[in-house]
Symmetry: D2
Subunit: 268 residues, 4 copies
């Protein structure tokens, strides 16, 4: 059994004293503390049951208390927020601008989607949780603060279960010359997410079998805000993330193609 | 001194017997053989003068005879066809589709440009040379033949010195679901090309100083159709190309940032 | 009965002496003249049978001989080449640039489609017929020759029965400042064409009933290259075409909504 | 002298009792009433001085009291909110969908701009004024309420004095089939606005000379929310607006080309 959190995005939350230690957290549970969210309760239950846990949403769950509890209970964790559409492309394009020394002066991203996920994100508090998660990737990859990076998400009913992203990127090249790149992605969120979630689940199961516990940084490939241990920076570059995962798999004496049941499904 | 070929694209050519050996080539030069192009003559002169040579165009010059001659003369070579706009993005996006198991069902690319380069490419014979160079990259990266990959180039006067590329990519994901990605790049070819050409020239000079000769596969990062030695496949993945170059530079005991004077120019 | 030509585009043809008079045409029929195309034979048959005829394709059929024959036989005609996707938008946008005094410096249009229609248009001779038909509209609407107007059509298998058009328009405004407009139309040719063809058929039937014959210029709304009588210029502006049709219908004492069965189908 | 209001957008306002009669308005002026905005004060001054007035902004100024005062003082008025970029295209495309019976299921519009105008619109109250003005046009033209029509405006510094609009339009055609149209306009607001403002000023001067006063509905062509007299609906269709203006000019015995000094500037 692996627990996979696919619930709707919760309202924006930050780590508070009640989340710092296992004792404080359990006292909070007993007193029905308002800062202990459903996402955290699920993770707590997973730890107690010894079940590996993947947080595929941007909701805050891996607070210090639960990170410690997971290690104590021998439970491997990964998350957070599946990297599927627009952010996936961001972590692909940004490294290439770095390689070619193209400075990113601005990146404007807008998203439209028409399903229940979109409705929830129309709520300002949930929207904030999602946008904070989406915005973090660029600066880390590029090594500087992008002067104007915006992410907008809107519920747009006609799009239905599909999703559409439009990005405008302003680049500054040699001798200060400006260029623009526009990316329009007509995608399907569930179709992009499902194989990633399946891979995460299978790998968590594997991690559990080989005795891993706590944060699985090697699974960063799958997430917008990959979990990372204290003192380390998150790795956002898709290609470095892929190398990390391949190395982990190779270490286990397995070949990458055995891990992925998706190749066949994708018709590749 | 380093020789950099930046001339207009020549008409499409293939390796013929006159290009196979140094003897045949030199006999061809004496008889003014019609299959010995200006690009080849320049490379021949570079070899004879011991000057490193970079072919930044898609014109055929590194024929077997001249590859041997370069090695014999201690001349390092790199090429061919600078990877700047649309193809640069192709070698960035394609690896990400491979990582995410998204099958590429079709890739339609069109380019418009309005300068002299565009006029030359309006000639069907030069156009073919360029398109063959642009088309090679996808299948190598993806590991299968893309069912429908088209590249079109048109001279469009209002675009002037600027360049514009529009790409449509058809993707097949999980359980055969279709998605589309559109990329519109409003770029400036010379601005993208100049720092790449400068880096190639500086690195060729460095290669010459450390005693390298013949094909410099480590400089693949800069080219659409990177030179590669017999029996090896060209490396098209931008991120693997970057790793190859970094490793070569590290081997020489230098840090990458010393090699690139472009970072400052780009304001990064 | 109304005859509607929906066959594949024929190769490019021009009016020749054999097409000039009824006598020459009929002699050509008897001798199986190579310049008498299938599209012309169908129209000839329609005239002889007294059946109204609509040429929904860009193939040449309304030659002088058959225009005279249609009048003689009391047969109303309309055509040619149904105005559905990209050209429809062209005849909408161009009038607005004229109203706002925005000069069109260039208009680059490309089309991809993956059905049999697309395959036929991959043949250079059929492609020419189509492109000549598509290119005619702009200059007439704007009142000057657009310096660079290009139309490209490519067979692209992954698009299947759907069609996609990408247009780039370069505009020059006040004090010579340049602007750009990009239009990406993801449409379905048959869905756009069917109601237009149905309307044309119903209106031809109506025209026949009220005793009209020969070219029905009032039906210009439906076509890329609307038929027009000697000495008149074709009307390409969608809104003027609509006014012409409404006036014709009003003259017949009918209200526009009775003519169009499409409103209901479109869910409007 | 003609007064042209080009100030920054004021916060959202509605007509209140103090705006209803000249007496109430003047009493409000004397008591420095908080609901009398700068835009209204300018218009009041214009009326009192007998100067024609054009409100090129979306700020509320033509309240009932001032409409009456303008008539009384023989002052011609026009406004409001210059129709320049995205809304211009909207009033061009929407009529064509109506002509072709394509139902608009959704229209998502986003705008980015980086000048002071953009900064002001980042203030939620000014933004609301602008968006209400931009949203009104569609339903009037189409004759039904578009199920999902969104307009977003964001200050995006890298765009500077230029402006960019991206529109996605969802269409439903024959037998309920869905299609999409995407429009990306890289424009320059001031360049689009200046000739329109100049034309409005010149025409107001002309109106004054021929004795007109009050709302000049014939100048609707220039505005997003054209002034209209009681009991009339605003006319938003660009082509009908153009016909109204042409008719007015023709009535004055002038040809349209004499009115517009812009044709020459645009190089047309």
């Amino acid at each position: 059994v692996v627990m996979l959190n696919l619930t709707s995005t919760e309202k924006y939350a930050k780590v508070a004293p009640v989340h710092e230690t296992i004792e404080a957290f359990e006292a909070g549970l007993d007193s029905d503390h308002e800062l202990i969210s459903p996402a955290m309760k699920y993770l707590y239950a997973a730890c107690k049951l010894g079940i590996p846990h993947c947080n595929f949403t941007p909701s805050l769950s891996k607070v210090p208390a639960l990170e410690k509890l997971a290690e104590k209970c021998g439970v491997p964790l990964c998350g957070e927020d599946g990297k599927t559409g627009q952010t996936l492309l961001k972590t692909v394009l940004a490294p290439s601008f770095a390689v070619r020394q193209l400075a990113v002066e601005g990146w404007y991203s807008t998203n439209i989607l028409g399903n229940n996920d979109g409705k929830v994100l129309d709520d300002p508090e949930s929207n904030k949780t999602k946008i904070v998660s989406k915005q973090s990737v660029l600066d880390d990859i590029l090594g500087y603060k992008v002067p104007d990076h915006q992410v907008h998400i809107h519920y747009y009913r006609p799009r239905g279960d599909q999703k559409e992203a439009w990005d405008n990127i302003d680049l500054v090249g040699f001798i200060g010359e400006r260029m623009q790149l526009k990316v329009n992605f007509l995608c399907k969120d569930s179709i992009l997410a499902a194989p990633v979630a399946l891979d995460a689940v299978r790998l968590l199961d594997l991690a559990k079998r080989v005795g891993e516990s706590g944060i699985q940084r090697e699974f960063s490939l799958f997430f917008k805000s990959p979990y990372h241990t204290n003192g380390e920076r998150p790795e956002h570059d898709l290609f470095k993330q892929n190398s990390m995962l391949q190395a982990w798999i190779d270490k286990l004496g397995r070949k990458s193609r055995e891990v992925s049941p998706i190749r066949k499904a994708a018709g590749a």
